[in-house]
Symmetry: C2
Subunit: 204 residues, 2 copies
Amino acid sequence: MAPSFTQLHPELAELLPGELHAFCTTGIHQRGERLFATGSKPVNMFFIRSGEVILERIGAHGGSAVLQRSRHGFVGEASLQSARYHCDGKVIATSEITQIPIAQVRTAMDADPVFASRWITMLNREVKRLRLQCERLSLCRVQDRLMHLLETEGKSGKYPLGSGLKSLASELGVTHEALYRCVSMMERDRTLMRDSGHLQLVHR
Amino acid sequence: MAPSFTQLHPELAELLPGELHAFCTTGIHQRGERLFATGSKPVNMFFIRSGEVILERIGAHGGSAVLQRSRHGFVGEASLQSARYHCDGKVIATSEITQIPIAQVRTAMDADPVFASRWITMLNREVKRLRLQCERLSLCRVQDRLMHLLETEGKSGKYPLGSGLKSLASELGVTHEALYRCVSMMERDRTLMRDSGHLQLVHR
DNA sequence: CGTACTTTTGAATCGCATCAAATCTGGTGG
DNA sequence: CCACCAGATTTGATGCGATTCAAAAGTACG
């Protein structure tokens, strides 16, 4: 990871007050890298410009669950006021990621009400997205979950795949075999189209 | 619903700055009442002192999904900056609920950085709870979901039931039959104890 | 060209949804 | 007080769909 002084992503630049920009460092992270580990003390928060990162929790029985899969936006933003991380942050595709020191963010937020308000807006969005994800996971069949995803997260049914269907499967909480079968069945039904890196829902 | 001027719940009184207290009204709501409906404009947010409320989304195909089941704390807090509700708020057990006008909250938050900071703390907690719920719903078997709930939400494995197992079932995203069977099986296994209104996980 | 990973297909099994029906419960009105 | 009703609880039978295990083929990358 080589920190550089690239221009901040517009979305991030707009959210963060100017005096924080200098504290941000942007770098390339490779697949397999861990941004943070369960139990460690949060120092930075992360903003994904491109690539793919998952939040993963390792259960007592060894099994792992993906809490979130993110290809753009904040990761670990809830660590703002946490003493410890409650999950792992893992890079699963080469990613361009901006690090922002938490302490500075906290200071700036206490001083700048407008910044705090924007931050609350972002958290509200996140809460809604998570509620939708819960709704999705409460669906029984794989096809229902996939269609729910395409309808709620996609743009008019079009949804960009990150690093393949396998990672999507874990986000949907199903095995990759089940998702592969579901996709190919929907393609045969002409309910779904798959072109390079995209899923497109076909309304009929 | 008869608004009264009861003392605010301590948790709420601590969160809200003093000048907002006067705008809060607390009342009793009966089962079946709707606090708000999908598509309507948010005017109040709600704090549950006791009882039980669910956030429910009605799907296009008519099926319903419970986004959240709450017996204490805020409901509809993400509506702070929303133009419309994206789900229904339904009372499913006689509840004591405090209403707080959103406009006043917004005003107070812009003026009071400490209040904004406390609000962010609350939202961060909510985000974490939702991530745990997603993790839970990504588990395959009913028993795994139930144990996950008892381990993460309960106090040393003890978890209070609200209005029965049926409502718990919908929170876990399974049919009530499956949950009933799972509970009675775990009781036979001596993995779980059920006394009046409580589930207690037995570690062995 | 070999290695690691994804994608794909197959077969067997298991757990849950579904449909059905009986019992139990608390609360309401006669 | 009792009959009655709505909803919760419980048990049973059946079928579907996903998991699981296995294996082969495709693909990216050093």
